[in-house]
Amino acid sequence: MLAEAKGRSPERSRRNKHMKFIQIKQGKKSKHVVNTPGEYIFFIHNYSGEVDIEIKSQEAKVFIYGIYVGKKGDNFTLNTIQHHKIGNSISDLLIKGVFFDDAKFIYDGLIKIDKKAQKSNAYQKNQNLMLSKDVFVSSKPNLEILANDVRCTHGSTTGQLDQTQVYYLKTRGLTEDTAQKLLIEGFVGDVFNKMEENGVDDPVILERIRQSTT
């Protein structure tokens, strides 16, 4: 374990130099073109609008992470496009949402692989937690694949907290509220772990993101 971790760290710091971190902000341009190889991390938080990422380079690795926390009166609409125009590239999207009160989340995602973008790998995942009866979630993870030597997957899950997990925590003496809080933290924390794994280890960035989502 230790050796493995040691062995990985120089590579990680090397990757970090090339890793580009882009936070999607309201009112900024929604189209992003990836023209050079390397790692890109896009981060989306409670953003309504379009995120259109065009991949026009081989060896490009694009990660898109999103966290949505919806409360009373919140209404989010997100469109994402992972458009592979050149093959030998990777895109990986993970959007997690936690919704309370009467929050609304309308997600429309598209993976598009052009005919000549062979050997593209594209992933798309949307997971939503619904913590109130009045929440509305609509999820449309679409795929349009015109090349055959590819691997594309998408998944979407929407539901409430796993009641057996809540029950387990309660048997350990935690209150319902604390149990819920812990499980939600774990659910969202997954996104941070993935970002760290992929090289977002600048404590300043991480702290800023954490602050903005809690």
Binding site: K133, S139, K140, C152, S156, T157, G159
Partner: protein, 465 residues
Amino acid sequence: MNQSNDLQFDYKYGFSMPDTSIFQTKRGISPEIVYQISKIKNEPEWMTAKRLRAYEIFLTKKMPSWGADLSKIDFDDIVYFIRATDKQQNSWEDLPAEIKETYDRIGVPEAEKKFLAGVSAQYESEVVYESITKELTKDGVIFCDMDTALLKYPEIVKEYFGTLIPATDNKFAALNSAVWSGGSFVYVPKGVQVKLPLQAYFRINAERFGQFERTLIIAEEGSIVHYIEGCTAPIYVTDSLHSAVVEIFVKKNARVRYTTVQNWSNNVYNLVTKRAKAEENAVMEWIDCNIGSKVTMKYPSVYLMGEGAKGEVLSIAYAGADQHQDAGAKMIHFAPNTSSRIVSKSISKHGGRTSYRGLVQVMPGATNSSVFVSCDALLMDENSRSDTYPTMKIKENQVEVQHEATVEKLGEEKLFYLTSRGISKNDAEGILVNGFIEPVTREIPLEYSIELNRLMQLEMSGSVG
């Protein structure tokens, strides 16, 4: 097996009989034609009125703005009604020789001898041959064509007809409601379990003739029935339109399975509306295999209206050259403790395009509902295309909704392994594709799954078997 030469797959049932139709309407559609169809069939007045109203709705409805390309359909160049023979035949011997020959080639009599409960073979727009075993009649099961049902059981037809799929539903449902003829009517009384599957064969056999069958299945409380629809059609030069409407009512604790093996020839537009309503603890299963046609747009749906109702759609789509299969499923949860499952497998080859299009909707109050959707697509070459368009609308929080999809090509290691064992590449592809669709084919009666496996093998090898 011919390996190197990629022959055009010759349509196996691509023969056609000389046209012996006795009556047909003139090309195109107008209120007069709609009226004429109803009059020829001696229909009750309410049905004539329904048809005429549906025709008005058809005119106002727009073509779908999504899905496959339908711009080539010319509604004025279609014959909307043909009567194949003058009257219903009730014994095999009385059938005209040509029709008999057509059926012989598909194998209807053998199938019947073996284990069919009833054959309702549709030749062109009306059922001309039909037999129901004594047992079914004894149990009170009604299995006949829709035209007969309308004349013999008008109260039942009137109660259900068009209540689940009204003419206002979509343009093609409106068209069907205006010009429908043929199709099956199945009524299973309370507690009756039909042990053998009911089968019907549909054929289009006149150039530019669209077939607009209308099927209605009513399964009363606690009953069980399995209905099988199999399609084979001869090849024609001009495009043909097939636009059916199927309505199924599954009452409390009842169970209905509807299996389709669609193998229209590659010039047919297959635009079908299929919907079922499942009441308390009812089970509705659609098994839908789309192999043929030029364009298919079909999304069998289940409205889960009663507590504990279950819905399932298992589907296979294959698209070869110039084919677009735009198929999927719809599950709408209205009641608590309802569950649905959709498993879709699609294969694109020779530039074909398959699209999965689905809708899952959980309405407020449908607590403890669960949804599982899984779509897998195989792309056999670089000219083919696969799309996945799922929609999930969730308005209730005590639910579990899962959706997953994958698109990929055949595993190279698996192909390599099989070829290293001395199996030709084409055969290996066939084996892997049959393995890929196995979760669906194992649910289909044996003789159909054998036929389907053979068909897929043929399609994969690109040679005539």
